[in-house]
Symmetry: D3
Subunit: 252 residues, 6 copies
């Protein structure tokens, strides 16, 4: 429950599945997880500001930050670089490692933008794979051009301090209906983003790609005139046809 724990072994396991995971759509992964009883892995309506394109997927490790409502008056004057460095969202950004996914729980608040052009540029410079904001972002026209994938609920031109204040980082957060822990594996594409622990990511990386290949074969059959009762899911006959035609075995 305290901070990010990520061992060298975790890193090895993650690297071993990363490429396989990019072969799985969020739709297929979400469905595999539900089949295992994991209902809540998709972040509701946190969508990319600019489409990634069909088939493009982002995989990375969740780094988390949490905001709460601002209580008192906004601080006046400029904070020192040291104070700035200690602020949770800055501490997190400055500790991002290549491929990390910057995940912010801003309570879904639509009235203040958590990151703008400059923080987004820094997140990109740190090598992050994406930023996902349960809330709003600002400078969205610029962010759309930046080359960093940013998922969010809405846009607002004010900065976060209008209503929110960061309270901690690398702890469990709520991302639009999903519990996300630091070190979770994120998979995202144009349908949104899902989070899962590493051991489930390994499961998805193992059973997802053959499932995707089977489904593409089914889709081709359907396009060629096959019927749903025959092919989706495939009858035993059709599964045999699949194995015959492709040389793959499925679900054994």
């Amino acid at each position: 429950m305290t901070g990010l724990t990520w061992t060298d072994d975790d890193q090895q396991r993650y690297l071993a599945i990363r490429d396989d995971l990019t072969q799985v759509s969020t739709a297929s992964a979400c469905q595999l997880l539900i089949a295992d009883g994991w209902r809540n892995t998709w972040m509701n309506r946190l969508l990319p500001i600019r489409p990634l394109g069909l088939g493009t997927r982002i995989v990375g490790r969740a780094r988390t930050c949490r905001y709460l409502m601002q209580r008192g008056p906004q601080p006046v004057g400029q904070r020192s670089p040291d104070a700035r460095r200690a602020s949770p969202e800055i501490a997190l950004i400055e500790s991002l490692e290549p491929g990390d996914i910057f995940c912010v729980d801003a309570l879904g608040v639509p009235t203040a933008g958590i990151i703008g052009d400059i923080l987004s540029a820094r997140i990109k410079a740190r090598g992050a794979g994406a930023a996902i904001i349960h809330g709003a972002v600002r400078d969205s026209p610029y962010i759309a051009e930046l080359g960093l994938s940013v998922f969010c609920a809405s846009v607002h031109p004010a900065h976060s301090g209008r209503d929110l204040v960061p309270v901690d980082f690398d702890r469990p957060i709520d991302m639009a209906g999903v519990q996300v822990l630091p070190g979770d594996i994120i998979l995202a594409d144009d349908e949104g983003a899902i989070a899962m622990p590493l051991h489930l990511a390994e499961h998805v990386a193992r059973v997802g790609p053959p499932k995707e290949r089977l489904e593409i074969w089914i889709r081709d059959k359907i396009v060629a005139g096959g019927t749903v009762p025959d092919y989706y899911p495939p009858s035993a006959d059709k599964l045999a046809e699949y194995e015959r035609e492709t040389g793959e075995r499925y679900g054994h």
Copy 2:
């Protein structure tokens, strides 16, 4: 009240108006229907995943399917092709005729996708004109590329069984604030979709195109500097000008 009743005569009447109806925007059709006391014909915020393009319109016959919330545990194991064939949404898909519009009342539930890539591909293969989902779809990045127009309220990567179950088809349904009966005529463009019974579709097909032509003429006059009090709606003088310039008579 029981199922789709569609006679040969209905078919003749439908074919007789189909092309005229594509000359009418949903905005013009909606307004004509309101003028006759039909307030609720537009499906609130069910919009195309990918724009059709200005002037492109879809016309077809409504085929309806209704989902309700799943109550018990999800069925385990694979259902037989016969059971699959009997499931309402599959029975409907497999009975679609060219030009039909696949209309699903999924209660607007945003947490489960009613159709994904494979069912969409089958709906297209059956020759359907469009699919309209009062709820969510999944595999939306693929669907956007498929070439079938799909209108929906939202996207979600889970399949329908996460929360919903189909209960019947070709019966009256609620499509985001519109009562839709099987056999209704659907008209859709980038502003959304409206439903109306055949006899009103005939009315719209008759009075809509001359109304569209008049409004384009008005718009051209406005672009050329005409004022709203003079041209919109046109004064008697301006209506005479219209008839003189175009050789058309309007509203006689």
Copy 3:
């Protein structure tokens, strides 16, 4: 409190700042206004139907119109041109001056479109800079192609008379959480629209452009590897670096 009061002096002051204001994003302007205690200047989620493009901004003078819910039955038959001319929304449209921003408070009602193709064309012909609708528009596919920037909350194919009626113009209105007075200065880009009185617009026009230039310099430093604690906001050292590199002085 009564109508638009706009003197020659106001016009001079406005023309003197118009170009400078277009150098400021809504994000920067919104933030400057918040710093002065003006929390509510951004119209929540009134966004352009078609993107303007990064860096394109609209500046103009607010002209306001207010709708309320229709109470009784809709009037039957055609109104005379004189009655039409006297209707608040038409009176306002016909009095628009080049660069004015047509602002409509339609209570955010999503079930009726305030303007369609013809009124939009007239607003454009009058030389307006944009139309902003706290509510819905109709004929949105056409409007998207028209060349007039239209910001709104939603689309609906019905016209305003389905549910709404105009009651007055050039008086204070609510634009999605912002109090807008006739004669306010509007600044809009792809992140939405903000409203402010002329004297604050002068403030933004004065301090905004140097702030934008500084932030672009910061962003370039960040892209080149600078850290947030060093550059955002810039430490005294970095500010000196900025002044040295650019020859600009900031915040003195």
Copy 4:
């Protein structure tokens, strides 16, 4: 469109119907108005803080006040009595006449209370019939005990200045989906409040009471075992029975 216009003749007409109107429930009145094409007369979900009791109804004349969002910083320091006197909501309160209904359009904003204990006490002291707030009130525990009927959407302990500012009074306003004009007649009971112009109030006062009497007779028949097809609405036979039993004639 400008302020309250209320002639001696209006006053006479109003006094002539006031008592009859209190015999009509909001449900019956609402229905009579819809039958005449007046769909929007009931203020959505503005309900009394404390129940009035079955059969208790409030009738009065609407006095209206409008708030918009606060824009700039809140004024510092105490305003002079003269400034206070000129503020729209105070000017309205101090001009209330016995039986007036204090109606405030606060945009439905739930984050600031428009009236608290002291203003409510003053409204009561002025002899007002009720206060209806499209928004929140504060000091609600006290108001519930005060003896003034207050209808509102919600409660909030902050005063109005947290987010709102009054802009004008005795002009048309939106009361939760109803257009209310100063001088409208308000009818309210535990099901909420409706607004209508004087001439429709006269209609309701004339046809409402006999309709109420007929419906009570129907209800008694139903309680005694009568069926819906026989009695509701009554068949010609049953209507004759009504007239025979009560000596009243209905709908002639």
Copy 5:
């Protein structure tokens, strides 16, 4: 899927459990059903207009009716008693049997009241156990006094025809997030209403009462100073204590 099927055997089974079921709170029943994988049995926020009182529960058989949005103009003039008799909601009301629960899916629409004083009186006269409306009711002040338990989402003074029209009865419906079939068993108290098929009602009637008795014993221990880890759920020791003190056996 067609209409109510309810055999004499069903009736016997129902009578055999009815009294036991009234010993179970909706909270306990809901939890037992979730434990069996039935997530969606509670009708979201359909609450009684007037509290039933702690410990009072209603048990009955669901009779269902479905409304959809009104499409065209409202019918003018009075319908014949035969037409009225054939209308789905009237046909259902006139066929209610003692103890039935009148369940209406009105899409949750808040702008029209499904039943008022007269229909409620008739439902009561038919011996119904309760009416549950997924939508609004009218004449709520009267209904609160009537002595029929009515659960609903909101109140509105207009009758259903303002926006809705009944389409069928005794078919599957959506009750605020619950799929309800005709013949389902309803259990309701001040926390709301749940629906379940007869065989699950038998399960709840069997395991619910001993569970309630155990929980009351636990509660008493807690009130007397017992701790949560000891008593809730009870450790093996404490369960033995329960069995010793009460002579009951639990969960064997």
Copy 6:
């Protein structure tokens, strides 16, 4: 930022103000805090299940617990007392001290009840002053009779495990728009609950009671016929009158 820090000195300071604080309504306290720039202290719409009664106020120390969405399948079987004891919400309940306020951030989720009859009974037995749930409770009919004040957003018969899981306690949480820290001082009455740090509670306890006394005096004057411009806020004359009549000095 870690857990509850509460020194003996804090305890002394708290005891010194507790009684004075109960003389201040949430409305007055909220307003005093806003005047100091603390906008967000009131928990939006978390209201008592059963009214406390006019003038009754609860004061206590916040103890906080946070839930997030359940991710995986619900655990099967019974947990050991040790595991139960370690669960965050149980650990917190078992560590409550007399007068503590049990504050739960359940994300406002309406589909699962955080506490029911047994946990509420235990919270009461621990001497807590109240429970406040940003989410739902179950067994609400029983809780209403229990004698513990429970504030919440809604009710639901399912227990928390249907959708939620506790993650930590005595850390900062979001309570319906308010940042609450463990050790904050809570003030609650029938208008809801506010949170503030101890030093602000001291401020409210000092300036609140004289403000309440002045406002009651004002209210009495208003009831007796005084006008708003004269008395609210009081003019210098009226303030002198207050001091003369009551012997109190105000605001010096």
